[in-house]
């Protein structure tokens, strides 16, 4: 069963908040749901499928479906870290294609700046062998960058260009956490966090959230919004594989990306706009290689000199400012990747960063810890008339 044209993204909403001390996390989910449904021209009563992950408080979909007042016949709480919501788009399309629902609502929300949050459940099988190491995402992704530099000669300047490009886009986003344009020098002069990643190589931490409404083709065509179709999808996971499969320069996107392109029947050269998960600058570089925008090892040259800046570069990316400058709600950037791709395909991105005739886009992400165990999810989205 191909997912090509199996479902359409009819509603997309990114909560404008980046700091939310005075609103409950469930309410933040509800505001995101309301925003995406209003965007689609639908209501809570139309929803018959609900998707959430561990950012949803309580018993996941069981708590949230009751809280929101939904009456659904399909629920999914697939958990793949930050890229979860990209996978949810594909899973919603699968459910729609199988006749399990017609209007799927996906929500993400969290307030890591305002409350203590649980990022993963304790008791992982590797816990006793790794917890004492003190591995955080900084050192995990840092080790990937070190290895990439060792094998391919990638430089900190090249990584910095990814942040520079994101900042050029963020200046036009009134909600961006860091709207200031930065230079390569400013990135390199920011404090070292975990070698070779500087503070400005790291994404922001924000309260916030977002939601998507994925619908059956006949519903999409009955609504007044531009048609944004799912054309292809892929997902994968990767880990050290017992210590024999460690390759820090290749992500699971090396499988999710080609799977999505194959299903879509298009090539990286056909893509007009790319949303690429940017927890760190190195995350972007490795995914661009793994998706085939350049050869493995060629990412440094590919991203340098503004090649990712809309209007001047060959591959406009993260035109909202991405996680590096705008928003990384609940440490999870997957949903904002899909939302900005939808904006671009509808022609609703900020005019300063809107890609002309943007009819084909990719949204891709990494979830978990790139240098340890992680997932990847990729969707190819198409504007149809």
């Amino acid at each position: 069963m191909s997912l090509r044209n199996a479902a359409y993204i009819a509603g997309a909403f990114e909560h404008p908040t980046r700091l939310a001390p005075d609103i409950s996390t469930p309410q933040l989910h509800a505001e995101c749901a309301a925003g995406a449904l209003a965007d689609a021209g639908l209501s809570l009563q139309d929803v018959d499928g609900y998707f959430c992950a561990t950012d949803a408080p309580g018993f996941g979909p069981i708590s949230m479906i009751d809280y929101l007042g939904l009456d659904v016949r399909h629920a999914d709480s697939t958990e793949m870290g930050g890229c979860t919501y990209i996978a949810h788009v594909a899973h919603a399309a699968q459910a729609i294609a199988a006749g399990k629902c017609k209007v799927a609502l996906i929500t993400l929300a969290g307030r890591p700046r305002s409350e203590s949050v649980m990022r993963f459940r304790p008791g992982a099988p590797e816990q006793d062998f790794e917890q004492w190491v003190g591995l955080t995402n900084h050192t995990s992704y840092g080790m990937c960058a070190v290895r990439h530099m060792h094998e391919f000669g990638t430089t900190s300047d090249q990584l910095a260009w990814i942040k520079v490009a994101a900042s050029h886009h963020a200046q036009h986003n009134e909600n961006a956490m860091l709207p200031k344009v930065v230079t390569v020098e400013e990135v390199l002069e920011s404090p070292m966090i975990a070698d070779p990643l500087h503070r400005l190589d790291c994404c922001v931490t924000t309260d916030g959230g977002g939601a998507l409404v994925v619908v059956a083709p006949e519903i999409a065509k009955s609504l007044s919004r531009p048609l944004v179709a799912l054309r292809g999808a892929g997902e994968a996971t990767k880990g050290p594989s017992g210590g024999l499969g460690l390759d820090l320069t290749v992500s699971a996107a090396a499988r999710s990306g080609p799977a999505a392109f194959a299903e879509a029947g298009v090539r990286p050269a056909d893509i007009k706009y790319a949303s690429v998960y940017d927890s760190f600058t190195i995350t972007v570089l490795i995914q661009l290689e793994d998706l085939g925008f350049c050869a493995k090892g060629g990412g440094g040259k590919f991203v340098a000199d503004g090649n990712l800046i809309s209007g001047t570069g060959k591959l406009p990316f993260n035109t909202d400012g991405g996680g590096l400058c705008s928003n990384h709600p609940m440490f999870r950037g997957g949903i904002t990747k899909v939302i900005e791709a939808v904006r671009q395909l509808r022609g609703e991105a900020h005019p300063a960063v809107q890609v002309p005739n943007c009819d084909l886009a990719v949204a891709t992400g990494i979830g978990g810890s790139l240098g340890a165990r992680h997932g990847a999810a990729t969707v190819i989205l198409e504007r149809q008339s």
Partner: protein
């Protein structure tokens, strides 16, 4: 600079032999009787072929740095997080200690050194430059 607290491992029947080895200064990994491939961290089953026929192997405790990143912020900083590729094959996530973290490099030879954890729990395998 505060010392980093090392979370105590909690041995269970699947991992007890590893921690007994650690307490005696021996780094153990597992090897598969069916496919002959080694693995780390140790499991009852082989992650390469799924066989339950796995057994303990004592390593030489030697390897080289596959990658290393020095954490510059937070408790105990700076400290080095690394993957070390053991001479027997598997890579192990660990810390490089008893050295200047700014001198560490990919490919550097290291050897195991066990460090005590909280509450009298078994020590954990870290590595230090072996100087050869």
């Amino acid at each position: 600079m505060s010392e980093r607290t090392l979370t105590a491992p909690r041995p269970n029947p699947e991992t007890q032999a590893f921690w007994d080895g650690a307490s005696n200064g021996v780094l153990k990994i597992k090897s598969c009787g069916a496919c002959s491939r080694p693995h780390y961290y140790p499991r009852a089953h082989c992650p390469h072929c799924g066989s339950p026929d796995t057994g303990w192997v004592e390593t030489r405790g030697e390897g080289e740095i596959h990658s290393v990143s020095v954490m510059r912020r937070g408790e105990g900083a700076p400290f080095a997080v690394a993957y070390v590729t053991l001479a027997e094959g598997p890579a192990i996530l660990t810390n490089i200690v008893d050295c200047d973290p700014d001198t560490l490099a990919v490919g550097q030879k290291v050897r195991v050194v066990f460090k005590p954890t909280e509450d009298g729990a078994p020590p954990v395998p870290m590595f230090t430059p072996s100087g050869d």
